[in-house]
Amino acid sequence: MDLLIHQVLSGLATGGIYASVALALVMIYQATHEVNFAQGEMAMFATYLAWTLLQAGLPYWVAFFITVIVAFVGGVVIERVIIRPVENAPILAVVTVFIGLLVIFNSVAGWIFSYTIKPFPSPFPEQPLFGNAYLSSHELGSMGITLVLLLMLFVFFRFTPLGLAMRAAAQNPVSSRLVGVRVGWMLALGWGLAAAIGAIAGMMIAPVVFLEPNMMGGVLLYAFAGALLGGIDSPGGAVVGGFLVGILENIVGAYLGTELKFTVALVLIVTVLVIRPSGLFGKIHVSRV
């Protein structure tokens, strides 16, 4: 029982990271109807940037914020320069571009930083907080950070005019233009946010899995499973899905063995797509013809 509690709580901690990346995937999906397969590699590259800043002697939180901002700007630039030209191209072309980005980021990271794994520091203390036996400080800390992040995003999209405009641009770009929304920049903003979220996720997971170019592969898979489980067009659902997948991963790992962890994620993806493609919370939109 004790083991179960531990696995569930630990699962919530990593689940928070999967939830954040799942949210980034859903944001881009809502705007472009494509899954950004390069999300993980962009996050990994941003984490390497943070590592470089830390190696240069910058304090952790300074490096953290600089990385988030640079990732944001990078995301905006990638959308304007690389994604925009293929905006209206057939799906296969867009997917190819995403996969191309994935490969480029992965290879360039390996080339610049080599493939040897590197340790990445956690900003949270070594000893568990309040002397508890269930969660390390890092797990508790990263849960806190991802919850704050998710809350900020929720408030942004729900209650600010810019958030409403971004949702409008994703939903109906033609009508958005007719009310004066600069749709191109809304998409770029979405990419910037997704890249920033990815950077934060990368910096939270790196202390656990160690920094190397293939670090985010597993995270992306779980995030994708979580986003599908929750509903690829439901941001709230993606978050719930991410947490569920985190818990599931740990329980499977503890009771079935770690070899099956990825398998379970893949099985989950296929099951959701076969049984209920809209996921748990994917909205069924009513529209009159």
Binding site: A168, V174, S175, R288
Partner: protein, 238 residues
């Protein structure tokens, strides 16, 4: 020449390789209502889209003295042009209220925007009842009212209307056209109205142009066209 708000000269438009408009000339006077009539496929919707920069065009489109052809749609809108498109263009996943809020997206005067919400609700009380309802669940007529209201939230100087009577019950259409007349007279909003229902359009508008396969075949004041029996019989069907 009295104030001309929109001046279009030699407008050509195409969808990909297919040319749809072949050198249109027409005007909308400031504070006036111009209607463009014609059968299906004549190019009426394309004309509105061309004014808004939504299709590839050649020719001159001048709004209040400024050339706007080639500009991006969102920038033309920001110059005070509101377009109620065919198909209504409702944000189906948003509530009624959120749709109106998007209409006012480019405006900075929050107090006036709040007043305008109330004004739309007095024009269309049905919208007030359904303000928090998902717009996609509104009836066709209600979505049409919402589309018009959203355009008015911009406080445009030029309102483009693409077949606003489409799919509406006759009584609702009558109410709506009375509202158009009222806002034209009170707020001096100029209008470019595309309609298949010729008699309705000619009652509201002061000038009319008749399109046939992308060309203007007849133009004049709506009174002269209304009174010209041969035109009515052969082109307008009544």
């Amino acid at each position: 020449m009295s104030d001309v708000l929109l001046q279009v000269r030699n407008l050509h438009a195409q969808y990909g390789p297919t040319k749809v408009l072949h050198g249109l000339d027409f005007d909308v006077k400031a504070g006036g209502i111009t209607t463009i009539l014609g059968a299906n496929g004549a190019g009426k919707t394309t004309t509105l889209r061309a004014v808004c920069g939504m299709v590839k065009t050649q020719g001159e489109v001048v709004l209040g003295g400024e050339r706007i052809e080639g500009k991006a749609t969102e920038n033309i809108v920001r110059m005070g042009v509101a377009h109620v498109p065919d198909g209504r263009g409702t944000f189906l996943n948003f509530t009624t209220e959120e749709n109106l809020r998007m209409g006012a997206y480019t405006r900075k005067d929050r107090a006036e925007v709040a007043l305008d919400y109330e004004r739309m609700y007095t024009y269309f009380p049905r919208l007030k009842e359904r303000r928090r309802q998902q717009a996609g669940t509104l009836s066709g007529g209600e979505q049409q009212m919402l589309a018009v209201s959203r355009a008015l939230m911009l406080r445009p100087r030029l309102l483009l209307l693409d077949e606003p009577s489409f799919g509406l019950a006759p009584l609702v259409v009558q109410e709506m056209f009375e509202i158009f007349k009222a806002i034209n007279q009170r707020d001096r909003i100029s209008m470019l109205l595309v309609e298949q229902n010729a008699s309705l359009a000619l009652k509201l508008a002061d000038h009319a142009y008749l399109l046939e396969t992308g060309r203007v075949v007849i133009s004049g004041t709506s009174e002269s066209i209304r009174n010209d029996e041969s035109v009515r019989r052969s082109y307008l069907g009544y």
